[in-house]
Structures are given as structure tokens and as C-alpha cells.
Amino acid sequence: MPTELESLLRPKVSDAPPFPAKFMQLADGTTMVIRSVERDEIPLLLEYIQPLIKVERDYYDIVAARVFAEVLAQYVYRIQDEYIFIGQINGELATIVNGRTLSPGIGVSLHTIAFKRGLQIGAHGFAAKMEYHMDFLNQDEVMIVAESPIGFRKFLIGYDLEKRPQVIHELGGVPSYALTRKTFDKVRGTLVTGRRPVPKDLLDKAKAEILPPSDPPVMAGDILAASRSVYDSTGSAFRGQRPKQEMGVK
């Protein structure tokens, strides 16, 4: 009984092709490897994503909450045709990007979340997704929305995507933009980055372990962080924290 019920609730096994890992050099000279995650790596990823749900800045809270749900769904077999890629720098988690197939020929880009700022890491991750949809899944279109103004300006305006107001993206409410094969072929030169194959020692290091991000976005704990008494690489101080602190909420 339970087995039959479970097989009803599970998605069909995906026949999507694998994503060959790639690597790229960042502005500070370090190298990032982008690869797909194995199922057994997901519990560790969830641990790294969870703290970001509390960061009320740059829409980290909503994006982290949604990514947590999408990645968890993959682990417990409750989402169809999702792919999850991660970017690692010296083994440390730098970015998670994900998406899925909506219907044959049409993909959906879900999220891009960066654990390190200032190095265009999100841009590299997003480009890897678009390459996967177009060149590996051979889809005709990818539906995209942006939750953050940063993403909106960079990708939706920056690549002149087509507006599809009649398509409600599954992230809710907002009309979608679409990356079509025609646009993709036009901007492929500037959009798609990175090189293959990944040198063996680099790939082995990335696959060995996903290390925790060394400098993730955090909420500043001290409202007087104007003098950076509480260090935060993404830099900000929140007066909103004081009422929470006074109420004893951590």
C-alpha cells in the first residue's frame, strides 16, 4: 500500500541529460566550478541556505525561503524535472541556481542565489542555467522573472528579453519574460561564460565536499554598525534590529 501511494505522489524519473561541469575565473583571480549536485549533498546545502532566510535585505529572505523549498522538494521527490547547480570556490559554496522543465520545449528559470557578493557570481550561475536549457535540454524558450531589482536590470533589461505578460510564472503573480532561442543565439557570446573540461584536481576538490561559505550575507547584530563594529561583507546596519533585540528575539 504505502509503496503504491508513494509512487503516485512521486514525480516521474527525469530523463534530462547531465550538466557537464565548467569552471571560470573571477575578478579577484580565484576560480569557480559550476556543477550539478548529487541528491545526498542536498541536506548539507539546506543547512547553508537556512540562515539566509533571516536576512531581510536584497530579497535574500524570500529567495532563500523559496530555494530552500525547491531544493528540499528535490530531496523528498516532490518536484518534477528540476535541476540544481552549485558554484564552488576552493570547495566553498558560492552560488546555487535552479530551474525546471515546464513542458516539452519550455523551461522555467527558478532562482539564483549568491553567497558571496561583488564578483558577478550570480551572472555566471545564471549563464550556466541558460546554457543548460538551450544547449542541453534543447528547449525553445525559458520563462524568467526577477524578484530583485538587481536581477531585473541585469538580466531582463540587460538581455532585452521578450515580455510575456499572459504567462504567470510559477513564482507567483508577476508576468514573465522569456529568453528565446533567437535571442540566446544572438547574445551567446557575451552571456555564456566558462570553460570545459574542468581540470581534474579542481573538480575532485569541488566534488569531495561542499564547504560552508566563508562570508555569507548576515543581518548586522548591532545597530551602531555604522562604524562597522559588526563585520558584514555585504555591508549594512539595520535599525529594525533594535525592537527585535529588545523583545528578546534573536
Binding site: Q25, L26, D28, G29, S236
Partner: protein, 391 residues
């Protein structure tokens, strides 16, 4: 004329600050008053660009003087585009030089990040000519880019030279705990690598992402006094020996020679003449590098290097931290950040640290003469200051 001394300094981190604008202006003022031990301020000037539009708050100086409990002292805002900071210092200097006041506080602040990136870009573009430039959608990076293209064509400056400015300033900022960006960048990562076009995308060709300064919130403060009061403070005597200001035609296209920054040349000449010093006497300088090309161009126009040779001096390491004439030891606008109203004051803050010997790991040995250039508009209103240590 009375001689004018800098007796106290203060600064915030340049980053994103979620405090009201008047508090961002007041916070460094508290530090500056602690620095000199003086709380009796005769007058206050506040330098700021966006309070009315971005922060929906006008009469900023009145709010600042109140939050610092400095009432009933007089207070006004000074606005001169990105040169607001140095203009406010000039106003304070004139108040003391004339003998009208004894102690004047100048604080500058900006909270650009209260607006989103698109609004901030549009707001900064309002400094261009409304009818002949703004209607076309020119942005400040676009103006700087057109200027850069001409500089590349005429003097052989390359993208590599621009990148050298950014790399140098990012390196310096690693030693400045108040800087906005603590991020090492490499020539390989931003120019040579196959991924450079993503790491360092064009903002306005030929200027790239790492050629443009970030959008920062922040505040900085200096307190000026006459000689009698300055001598009572137990700190090195730092005097504003010279100030110069000049304007140029508003639209870039109307200037006879679009690669010349005549306002910089004239303002700098005035500042040196008043101080009775020459460019070669300067030990350390803060030049306004909102775009990396400007550090190169200004270093020539103020007289440090011959016109068209600034990039060669840069290449030879003359302007690096350990060079003969370090420029932008704070990280410059590029890495330290550019809260527009505070920038001119932050430049002076850095020079005072250097002349006092308090610049820590970025200290220039035996710095006795410092120079700042605060660049307003796109080169049409420039204020320069020469600072000397007297003891």
C-alpha cells in the same frame, strides 16, 4: 585673513546605512567633536546632494544641528554636485578666515541607497545639461566614457591602464576599515581572463564595471578653527594652506578641447598659488576617481605629470602606495566609496590622517603636504585644497 586649521575629523563606514540621512551626517560629527574635545561650534555647513529628491527631506542642516544639540548655531546646506564636500569646506574656511567665526563644523552625508539603482542612475544624470544632454538619456558613465575614448585615441591610454587604477585603489582600501569595498581584484580576473566580459561588463563603452565607483551611503566631518584655538588642541597642527575653485562650460560638447579639464587646471593652480607651493611639493593626494580615467586625467591637470603622461606614471608605480607620489591611499572613490555629499570631506579626512601620521598600514612616510581635488558635474565645477602640517 586668519589662518584656518583642521582640529577634528570623523567618518562613518561607506556602505549601505539604514539610518535617516541626518543621523548619517551627525554620526561622524560626534567622532569629530570627540577628536578635538570641542563642543562649542559657532556654525555648521552640511554638504549633501540628494536629500530633497532621494530622501524626501529638505533643510537638512537644520535637522543635523538639532540632532547634535548644537542649536542655536547657524547652519546651512551646501550643494555643488559631487564637489559639495569641498565647497562646504571652502565656505567654512571663508567664515574663519574672515574672522566672523572661530570654530566651524563641516559635515557631509549621502544616503543614495534609499533609492533603487535605476532611480539613483537617473538622479546622478540630472547634473548634466537638461536640454542639450539629459533629454538624450546621457548618464555620468556615458559622459566619462566619451571622454575616455578621446583620451585613449589621443594619448594611448588603454583599458589596462584604467584597470591598473582600480586594482591599485582596491589594494589600498584593504587597509582602510571604513572603505566600501574590501575586495582584491586582479588584472587576470578583470581583463585577461576569458570570463572578463562577465566579471567586468561594460557600463558605457569603453568604461567597464570596475572602472566606475560604487553607490555608497556614508558621512564625513571636519571641524575648522582659527590658530589660537588650534594651538590649544594636543594634536598636530594641520592648516588649509590653499583653496581654489573654477568652473567651465556646462555641456561637454561646447568645450573647445574635450580632453582638457580646464576647471581642474585652474582650481589646482589657485590652490597652489595661495599656499605658495608647487605640485612637486605634494607628498600625498586624493583625486576624484569616480571613474578610473579621471584619476589619470586629474593627475595631469593638477600638475603632477605632463598632459598625456599620467598613465605612464601609473604604469611605473609612481602613484601606488609605496611610490613617490601615492594617489588615493584611502582607496579613492573607486574602492572607498562615493557618498556624494561626503566625498570631498572624506578626501580631506584621509589627508589629515596622513599628515598626522595616523594612517596605519597605508601611511605615507613623512607626509607634510597633501592635496585634494573634488570634481563637480562633469568637470565644470572643481574645488581643490592644499593642506600642510605646520609642526
Amino acid at each position: 585673513m586668519q589662518e584656518v586649521y583642521i582640529i577634528g575629523i570623523g567618518i562613518t563606514s561607506f556602505t549601505r546605512l539604514d539610518f535617516p540621512l541626518y543621523e548619517i551626517a551627525a554620526f561622524p560629527a560626534m567622532d569629530a567633536m570627540k577628536d578635538c574635545g570641542i563642543t562649542e561650534i559657532d556654525h555648521l555647513f552640511v554638504a549633501n546632494l540628494g536629500s530633497g529628491r532621494i530622501n524626501r527631506s529638505t533643510g537638512l542642516a537644520s535637522a543635523v544641528v538639532d540632532t547634535l544639540s548644537l542649536t542655536p548655531a547657524g547652519a546651512e546646506s551646501v550643494e555643488n554636485g559631487p564637489a559639495s564636500g569641498a565647497s562646504a569646506i571652502k565656505a567654512g574656511l571663508m567664515a574663519i578666515a574672515s574672522g566672523m567665526h572661530n570654530v566651524v563644523m563641516i559635515t557631509g552625508a549621502e544616503r543614495m541607497r534609499e533609492a533603487n539603482a535605476l532611480d539613483a542612475t537617473e538622479f546622478m544624470a540630472t547634473i548634466t545639461h537638461p536640454l542639450a544632454e539629459q533629454i538624450y538619456g546621457v548618464t555620468l558613465p556615458a559622459m566619462a566614457a566619451m571622454f575616455t575614448r578621446l583620451y585613449m585615441e589621443k594619448y594611448g591610454v588603454t583599458e589596462r591602464h584604467l584597470a591598473m587604477v582600480a586594482i591599485k585603489n582596491h589594494h589600498n582600501a584593504m587597509f582602510n576599515r571604513f572603505a566600501h569595498l574590501h575586495q582584491v581584484i586582479t588584472m587576470e580576473g578583470i581583463i585577461d581572463s576569458p570570463e572578463a566580459s562577465t566579471n567586468n561588463p561594460y557600463v558605457a563603452e569603453p568604461l567597464r564595471f570596475f572602472d566606475c565607483c560604487p553607490v555608497s551611503d556614508g558621512g564625513a566631518c571636519v571641524i575648522l578653527a582659527n590658530k589660537e584655538i588650534a594651538k590649544k588642541i594636543k594634536k598636530p597642527l594641520i592648516r588649509i594652506a590653499g583653496v581654489g575653485q573654477a568652473t567651465d562650460l556646462h555641456t561637454v560638447h561646447e568645450r573647445d578641447n574635450p580632453t582638457d579639464l580646464l576647471a581642474v587646471r585652474r582650481a589646482a593652480a589657485q590652490a597652489f598659488k595661495m599656499a605658495e607651493l608647487k605640485p612637486k611639493d605634494v607628498n600625498v593626494a586624493e583625486l576624484h576617481d569616480a571613474f578610473t580615467i579621471l584619476e589619470i586625467a586629474e593627475s595631469e591637470e593638477v600638475g603632477f605629470f605632463k598632459k598625456g603622461e599620467g598613465h605612464i606614471a601609473l604604469e611605473n608605480g609612481v602613484t601606488s602606495l609605496k611610490g613617490k607620489l601615492p594617489i588615493n591611499t584611502s582607496g579613492g572613490l573607486k574602492a572607498k566609496g562615493h557618498p556624494v555629499g561626503a566625498t570631498g570631506i572624506a578626501q580631506v579626512h584621509e589627508i589629515v590622517l596622513q599628515l598626522r601620521g595616523d594612517a596605519g598600514e597605508r601611511q605615507v612616510k613623512n607626509a607634510r603636504v597633501g592635496f585634494t581635488c573634488n570634481f563637480g558635474g562633469f568637470g565644470n565645477n572643481v574645488v581643490c585644497l592644499t593642506l600642510v602640517r605646520e609642526d
